[in-house]
C-alpha cells in the first residue's frame, strides 16, 4: 500500500463520522428544528455500539443498537421541544450534557477493554487496484452506508414530494399547517432520523475508528458536524465537501508535522477549521441562494392554534 493510498484511506476514516452526523442534522434543520444535541446523541451511539458489540461479539448488532438508541435518545429532545415547546437551543445543549454524562455511567464497566472491530468488505480483484482499490472497494461497511446516506438524503429532499413537504415545514410552519400538513409529526420523524444518524456516527467511532470505549470519545465531533451543516448552507453535497476537506486538512497537517516542515503546530492544528470555514463560505457566497436554502423557521417553536 503506497503512502498516498494510506493517506486517502485515513482521510476517509476521519471524514465519515462527521459526514454521517451532519447528514442527519441537515434533515433535522431542513424541517425547521435546531438540535444542538448531536454530540450527546453521538456519544450515546458510541457507548451503545461498543457495549452491544462487546457483549454479543457482533459489531453489526452493535451498529443496529446504536442507531436505535440514537433515535430513542433524540425522541427525548423531540418530546420536550415539539410537544412541550421548550427552547430548542437550551434543550439541545442539555441533551449533549446528558448524553456525555449518561454514556460515561453506562460505559464505566467497559473502560480499558479492547473492542470488536468491524471488518472491511473486500471486493475481490477490484480492491487490488492501485491507489483507489482499497479506498473505493475495500472499506468498512459504514463508509458505504455514509455514501448511500448522501444519495438518499439528496434524492429525498429535492426529488420527492415527501422531501418537499419536509422543506416546506422548515420554511414556514404556519403555512404548512394551514395546508393541512402535520408539522409536529414530520418534525418528530426528522428529529429521530437525525438521532439515528448521530448514533451511527458514534458507532463508527467505537467500532471502526478506534475500537474501544473511553468517556467523551467523540471529542467535539458532534459540534463540528453541526457547524458543517450551517457553513454548507444546508446543501448535502456541500456537507460532503466540507467533511472531506476537514478530514483531509486534519490528516494533512499531521503529515506535515511528521515531515518536519517547521510550521508551528498550533497553527497547523487550527488549519482544518480555518480551511473548511473559508472554503464553505466561499462556495456559499451567493447571498440570495443561501437565503433560499436557509430553513426560515429554523429554531422557531411551533404551536398549532387549533
Amino acid at each position: 500500500m503506497g503512502m498516498l493510498e494510506a493517506i486517502l484511506l485515513t482521510i476517509a476514516t476521519a471524514a465519515t463520522p462527521l459526514l454521517i452526523a451532519a447528514m442527519g442534522e441537515l434533515v433535522v434543520e431542513r424541517s425547521g428544528v435546531l438540535n444542538l444535541g448531536v454530540e450527546g446523541m453521538m456519544v450515546m451511539g458510541a457507548v451503545t455500539a461498543f457495549a452491544v458489540a462487546f457483549t454479543s461479539g457482533s459489531p453489526w448488532l452493535g451498529l443496529i443498537a446504536a442507531v436505535v438508541v440514537g433515535a430513542l435518545f433524540s425522541l427525548l429532545f423531540g418530546f420536550l421541544t415539539l410537544t412541550l415547546v421548550t427552547n430548542q437551543v437550551a434543550t439541545g445543549l442539555a441533551l449533549t450534557l446528558l448524553g456525555l454524562g449518561l454514556s460515561g455511567m453506562i460505559g464505566e464497566g467497559f473502560v480499558g477493554l479492547p473492542g470488536v472491530k468491524m471488518t472491511p468488505i473486500y471486493i475481490p480483484v477490484l480492491s487490488e487496484l492501485p491507489l483507489v482499490g482499497r479506498l473505493i472497494f475495500g472499506q468498512d461497511p459504514i463508509f458505504y452506508i455514509s455514501l448511500l446516506l448522501v444519495v438518499a438524503v439528496s434524492w429525498f429532499l429535492f426529488r420527492t414530494r415527501a422531501g418537499l413537504t419536509l422543506r416546506s415545514v422548515g420554511d414556514n410552519h404556519n403555512s404548512a399547517h394551514a395546508l393541512g400538513i402535520h408539522v409536529i409529526a414530520i418534525r418528530y420523524a426528522a428529529v429521530m432520523f437525525g438521532g439515528a444518524c448521530a448514533g451511527l456516527a458514534g458507532a463508527y467511532l467505537s467500532l471502526v475508528y478506534v475500537p474501544q470505549w473511553v468517556e467523551g470519545m467523540t471529542a467535539g465531533r458532534g459540534w463540528i458536524a453541526l457547524a458543517l451543516v450551517v457553513f454548507a448552507s444546508w446543501r448535502p453535497l456541500r456537507v460532503v465537501a466540507g467533511a472531506y476537506l476537514f478530514g483531509a486538512v486534519t490528516i494533512g497537517q499531521l503529515h506535515a508535522q511528521a515531515l518536519g516542515f517547521g510550521i508551528p503546530s498550533q497553527l497547523l492544528s487550527s488549519l482544518p477549521y480555518l480551511a473548511t470555514i473559508l472554503v464553505l463560505v466561499l462556495i456559499s457566497r451567493n447571498r440570495r441562494l443561501t437565503m433560499v436554502n436557509t430553513p426560515a423557521s429554523l429554531g422557531r417553536p411551533f404551536v398549532p392554534d387549533r
Partner: protein, 356 residues
C-alpha cells in the same frame, strides 16, 4: 450526573453553614482534566483517590470533579470544591496552576496540592510531580535497540516543559545505544482524543517509523500500532490489553503512595508546604512488564531502570548538546531540577521544530 450531585451538595453546604465543619471526617477532593474513564492520566489519579479511600475507610470522605477544562472554568470548579468543605484539594493538571493559586488565596485554611506545576503563591499550596522522563529514557533505550528503521514516532500533546523533557529523555536513551537514532514528533494539541491520536499514529507509521510512543492519554495509538503490526509504548497506565503483541512497556503513574501520605498529613495536622518531584526511586514511576522484546533488550532495559532507581544514573547527564549543536551539559554534569522544569529546547537529533 456526578457534577450535578456535587453542585447540589455544594449549594447545600452553603445553605447550611456549619454542616460541613460539624463532621470530624477529613474530606479530600480531586480535580481531573479528563474523564476518570480515560484509561490514562486521569484514570491513574482516580486510582490514587480509590487507594486513599481504601486506606482510611470511614475516616476520610472523598469527592472529585472530572472533565474540568483548563482555563477560566477551572477556578470555578476548584472554588466549588473549596466551598463544599474539602480539607485538601488535589488539582491534577498543569493548566490548573493559576486557578489553584487564586482559590488558595481565598481559602487559607484549606490545603491545595497542584500536580506538575511550579507556582506556590500561598503557604497552603504544595506542588508535586513525577519524573516520568526517567521512564522515557528506558523506553528510548528499548526503541534504540529494537527499531530497524532507526526512527521512532512521538505523539506529543502540548509544548510544555514536562512534554519537552520527555522527548529529550527518550532521545537521549535511544542515542545511548544508537547514536544515529531519529525521532519524528507530531503535536496532537490535545491531551485526550482517541481518534485524533490514532490519526497521528497512522501518519507517523505511513512515514516509516516502526515504534510509536505517546505523551497523550488514550489507547488509540496502541490500537493502530497493533493493527499495523509495529511496536508501541503505553502511557500512564498498563495498556497491554490493547496490544498484547504490541506493547513493549508502559510508564505507569502510581500516585497512590503520595496521596495516602499527604491525606495522612492533613489528618495528623502535620501538613506542610512542599515541592515533591518523585521518580522511580520513590515508587511514583513504575514500569509495566517488559514484553514483546528479545531477552538481551529486556535485560538492558531492566539494568537501565535499576540504575536510575538506585540514583546511580540520571538521564540528563552530560555531555549533551542542544538541537542547534551548542553545548548544554559538560561531561559528567547533571542538569538541575529547576532547568528541567522550565525546559524549552530540544537536545541534538530531534527531528522537529519546537513550537514556542
Amino acid at each position: 450526573m456526578k457534577r450535578i450531585i456535587l453542585a447540589l451538595a455544594a449549594s447545600a453546604a452553603i445553605l447550611l453553614p456549619g454542616a460541613a465543619s460539624a463532621q470530624d471526617k477529613t474530606k479530600a477532593c480531586w480535580v481531573y482534566v479528563g474523564p476518570i474513564g480515560d484509561y490514562g492520566y486521569s484514570y491513574q489519579h482516580h486510582q490514587g483517590l480509590l487507594a486513599v479511600q481504601k486506606e482510611f475507610g470511614d475516616k476520610v470522605e472523598t469527592s472529585y470533579l472530572e472533565n474540568v477544562p483548563e482555563g477560566a472554568d477551572a477556578e470555578r470548579a476548584i472554588e466549588r470544591l473549596a466551598r463544599s468543605g474539602c480539607d485538601i484539594i488535589f488539582a491534577t493538571s498543569f493548566g490548573f496552576m493559576d486557578a489553584t493559586n487564586a482559590v488558595a488565596g481565598r481559602f487559607p485554611d484549606i490545603k491545595f496540592e497542584h500536580a506538575t506545576g511550579f507556582k506556590r503563591d500561598h503557604p497552603n499550596v504544595a506542588t508535586y510531580n513525577s519524573k516520568f522522563h526517567e521512564g522515557r529514557y528506558v523506553q528510548g533505550v528499548i526503541a534504540g535497540k529494537l527499531s530497524k528503521a532507526g526512527v521512532a514516532g512521538y505523539i506529543a500533546s502540548f509544548p510544555i516543559p514536562e512534554v519537552v523533557m520527555g522527548i529529550n529523555s527518550f532521545m537521549l536513551g535511544a542515542q545511548s545505544v544508537n547514536p544515529d537514532f531519529k525521532v519524528k514528533v507530531v503535536w496532537a494539541n490535545t491531551w485526550f482524543d482517541a481518534a485524533k491520536e490514532a490519526d497521528a499514529a497512522k501518519a507517523l507509521i505511513d512515514q516509516g517509523v516502526d515504534i510509536i510512543t505517546q505523551h497523550t492519554d488514550s489507547t488509540g495509538p496502541m490500537q493502530v500500532a497493533s493493527e499495523r503490526g509495529i511496536k508501541a509504548f503505553g502511557q500512564a497506565t498498563d495498556m497491554i490489553q490493547f496490544g498484547p503483541q504490541t506493547q513493549l512497556t508502559s510508564i505507569v503513574d502510581d500516585w497512590a503512595p503520595y496521596y495516602i501520605e499527604r491525606v495522612k498529613a492533613v489528618i495528623d495536622g502535620t501538613w506542610q508546604q512542599q515541592d515533591v518531584w518523585g521518580g522511580m526511586k520513590e515508587g511514583h514511576v513504575v514500569m509495566a512488564p517488559y514484553t514483546n522484546m528479545p531477552d538481551d533488550v529486556k535485560a538492558l532495559a531492566e539494568e537501565t531502570a535499576a540504575k536510575i532507581k538506585s540514583g546511580e544514573f540520571n538521564p540528563f547527564t552530560g555531555p549533551i548538546k542542544k538541537q542547534d549543536g551548542s553545548e548544554w551539559l559538560k561531561d559528567g554534569e547533571v542538569a538541575e531540577d529547576g532547568v528541567l522544569l522550565g525546559l524549552n529546547f530540544y537536545v541534538a537529533g530531534v527531528d522537529d521544530q519546537l513550537p514556542q
